[in-house]
């Protein structure tokens, strides 16, 4: 009775070791082979099966977008610093804070519009089907992140006009 049980347990452990060894080794190898830490655009080529010519066009678009994006980000950061430096109380501080907050919201909207414009341009540099897929994915990944927060907000009095938003 004991010997067959030992054989069974030994076989099970050996099988588990073989499976686990093969699983972790191939997972690590695959991760290392596919990862290109230096290239942020590697995902596009991997996901949308783009040719080198298409990738070169997209890279140019990406490189021209980054400085514009950084400029807007710097302006938002500067406004944020100004808002942080304002005194906590006082009528002047209140109105100034309001003005700065409005400016931050405006800059963020501009930044978002610029980002969406970039996505459209990148999608146009791809084959039509891949472009559609890219746009849908980027909308989901970038704009989709705000949806749970917006849906969780309680409905405010006088905010009925916002109900038509998806």
């Amino acid at each position: 009775m004991k010997r067959p049980l030992l054989i069974l347990l030994a076989a099970l452990s050996l099988g588990a070791m073989i499976f686990a060894g093969a699983y972790f080794a191939s997972r690590r190898t695959c991760e290392m082979c596919q990862a290109k830490p230096a290239d942020n655009l590697a995902w596009l080529q991997m996901e949308f099966h783009l040719s080198d010519t298409e990738m070169a066009r997209i890279r140019t678009l990406h490189e021209s977008y980054l400085p514009q994006c950084a400029a807007l980000c710097n302006r938002i950061a500067a406004q944020q610093d100004e808002l942080d430096r304002l005194p906590a109380t006082g009528t002047y501080a209140g109105s100034a804070a309001q003005a700065i907050s409005n400016e931050i919201v405006r800059l963020r909207a501009q930044c978002q519009a610029q980002m969406l414009q970039h996505f459209v341009m990148v999608s146009q540099a791809m084959p039509p089907e891949a472009g559609r897929r890219y746009l849908a994915k980027m909308r989901e990944l970038t704009l989709g992140t705000n949806l749970p927060m917006e849906q969780a907000m309680p409905s405010m009095p006088g905010a009925a006009s916002h109900d038509h938003h998806p």
Binding site: M1, I7, L8, A22, A25, S26, C30, M46, T142
Partner: protein, 105 residues
């Protein structure tokens, strides 16, 4: 070779012997008692049986090699699938971080 009973002189003896071979009568309720004995006999140990046969199967070199190869391939397939998914997710996160400014996150 000639059978001794084929001799004409032995024929009456053979017939006599054939007639003398009587089958004894079975005791009363013979069949019932046989079944009772069968039912009362202990059943063979089944647990030890399947465990032993499984152990014997595992010890067969052909089966052992086939099972190890199957596990190896299953591990490689699953691991490479998982690895490529992870690499893809990582690359996707890097791209999104590159195009989506921190101020919008």
């Amino acid at each position: 070779m000639k059978n001794p009973s084929d001799q004409p002189a032995d024929r009456p003896l053979s017939e006599l012997l054939r007639e003398a071979r009587v089958s004894p009568a079975l005791p009363p309720r013979f069949q019932e008692s046989v079944w009772r004995l069968i039912e009362a006999s202990p059943a063979p140990a089944r647990t030890a049986g399947w465990l032993e046969s499984l152990a014997a199967l595992l010890l067969r070199p052909r089966f052992a090699v086939a099972a190890a190869t199957a596990l190896l391939f299953a591990g490689i397939l699953l691991g490479s699938h998982e690895g490529s998914q992870l690499a893809r997710q990582d690359a996707q996160a890097r791209y999104v971080a590159a195009v989506m400014p921190g101020s919008l996150r």
